[in-house]
Each structure stands twice: as C-alpha cells, then as structure tokens.
Symmetry: C2
Amino acid sequence: MNQQVNRGVRTGGRSARVREAILTATFDELVATGYAALSMEAVASRAGVHKTTVYRRWPTVDDLLLDALTTWSQEALPVPDTGSIDTDLVALGRELADALNDGVGRQIAAFVLTSGLRSSRLSEATRRYFDHQALRAVPTVRQAVDRGELPETCDANALLTTFRAPLFYRMVTTGDPIDDALITHAVDVALNAARAGLLSG
Amino acid sequence: MNQQVNRGVRTGGRSARVREAILTATFDELVATGYAALSMEAVASRAGVHKTTVYRRWPTVDDLLLDALTTWSQEALPVPDTGSIDTDLVALGRELADALNDGVGRQIAAFVLTSGLRSSRLSEATRRYFDHQALRAVPTVRQAVDRGELPETCDANALLTTFRAPLFYRMVTTGDPIDDALITHAVDVALNAARAGLLSG
C-alpha cells in the first residue's frame, strides 16, 4: 500500500526514486531485449541498484512488468491541444509512432501476441496500457465536438480506434517506420468516417 | 529448381507430398508453440518423417519457415465473389479473422514484432505473406469498380489496407476475438473512405 502512496504524491523520497528508476529500467530493458530475454539482473544493473533490491519487491520479471504497465496506465499524460482536431490527431499519431517504431509499444504488442495471452493478469495490464493510450485523448475529441468540428453523436473511442488502427497495421505487417504520410492519411480516413456518421456511439 | 516444379504442378510424387507435409507441419507447429519454441524435431514428428529428412533440405528452423512462408505467398488462393463488394469484404474479413484469432497469422505477426526484424530474409518473407493476403483480393476490388460500386480512382491496395487495419488493431491491443460486428464496421468505414475519394491511387 505504501507503494501506492509514494507513487501518487511523488514525495521524491529515496524509496520512491528507486522504485521509479526500477520501473523505468524495466521498460528500457523490454525495448532493448524483448520480453523473452528480460532479466532481473539487467533491470537492476540499468537502474543502478543491487538485484536483491529488485527481488525484495518484485519476485519475478512478470511482477515487474505488471507494475510498470499498471503505473504507466495510471499516469496523467498531457494531450495535444493545437486548436483543431486534425492537427491534434497528427500530434497524437507522432507520439504513437515513437512508441511503435522503436519504443515500448512495439515490445508490448509483441508480448500481447505471445506470452501475454498465457497470464490473465499480464494480459489485462497490457490491454490497459493500450486503452490508456487511446482513452487519454477522449477529451481532445470531445473538445472538437464542442467546437463543431465533429458531429455530436461521434464516439470518441471509435474515432481514436479507427485513427490508430492503420499505424498498428503497418507495424505488424511490414515493420516499416510509421511516417507522417501514413499519419495524415489515417487522420483523413478517421475524420471522414466520423463526419459520415459511421463512428457514432 | 525441382522443388518449384513439384510445387507448381502438384505431381503427387512422394517427394512433393513429403515436402508439403513438412511445410504444413511447420505452420501447424508455429501456431501450437510460437517461433521461440519451434523445433525441427517437432516439425518432423508432426509431418510423420524422420528428422534427417527435414535437416537434409532445411538446415535450420529459419530455412523451414522461410520456405513455408514463400510457398504460401505464391499459392493462388480463391477469393470471394459474392456479387457485391460489401459481402465480398465481409467474407475476406472472416477468413482473416480465422488466421488472426487462433491461426498462423497471429504467430507471424508476433514474429514480425520480435525476431523477424533481425533476419532480413525472414523479414522480407513475412512481409510477402501479409502482402499476398491483401493483394490476392485486388481483383475483387477491381470488379467492384467495374460494377460501379466504387469510384474509378479507388486504389485497391489502399482500400484493402484500410479494411484490414482494424482487425489487426484488435488482435494486437486486446487480443480479443475478431467478430462479425468488427468486420462489418471495418467494411463500412473502408467503403465510405473509398467513396469519399480518400483511397485514390
């Protein structure tokens, strides 16, 4: 329970700093090596702590990953507010591209497709990771509705899913980098579908 | 070269039958265990041959997988011809759902996201696998253009990519089964984008 408190208030105490360093190192190691090669020793080394410090709180690699995913999924992330839904979605698309091109998103997707499915707790945590990425932008879509850029019936989650799908598609099928041409095309298709009333709640 | 001839004409000779059994067993094992656990012994056992028969032609698991992917990507597959693009796409979506829900498509996607990227030959073969899945349906889209169901400028590949993306998105982010509700929604969004002129070549 103490973990939760430290996480929430960010006291900056040594325990909280160590915890944050270890969870950050977990994601960094995941990106560097993938899930199959993720080791407690490498996480401890990257975080600059002794491995017993890691084992004391997280008995297994899965516990570490579960906590890192859960913590990330509770963070309040800033969302773009550029004044129009077109440019807001392009900004969101660029952030997503960073996560999927070389970042933790790609490794977590690989995890969903492989071992993630064998552990229901981890599977639930990976789902929350991607949900959070999409849901944090719901206010952005609501603002666009308020400004009259989208129909009032537009379902924010359906719009964000439609917009994000082509970026994931490229990552999975070819592995080619997600670039601005793909992002702007995905924005056009999603906004068009929304304006045609296909993305209503 | 003889392999190619056997594959094309399907002579039914013993060598061709053994080869087909081994490549089929490779995909079946991939689905059952995933790439990381794929073994020559298990493939041989599943195909009902001695493992030396496998090693003689395919020195490594990667050689087996490369050949299985390449062979599959050259097969002429039947495509739906139901009389309208809406129902043709639904039929294609159901086939894709079978491959992604529990089939080889999911394992190959996992492979793209993990070790596939470390071998350029295999990476190229996995890309061809997904390309082939999409490209085989290009005539289906062309027919729809000829029938006046889609604008003449519609780019078949762009339409198929837009249609397939939401199915892959669900597989990657939640792992939930791809069902008919998702498929018909993906058809609506893709056809709407095409008719709005957003998917032109």
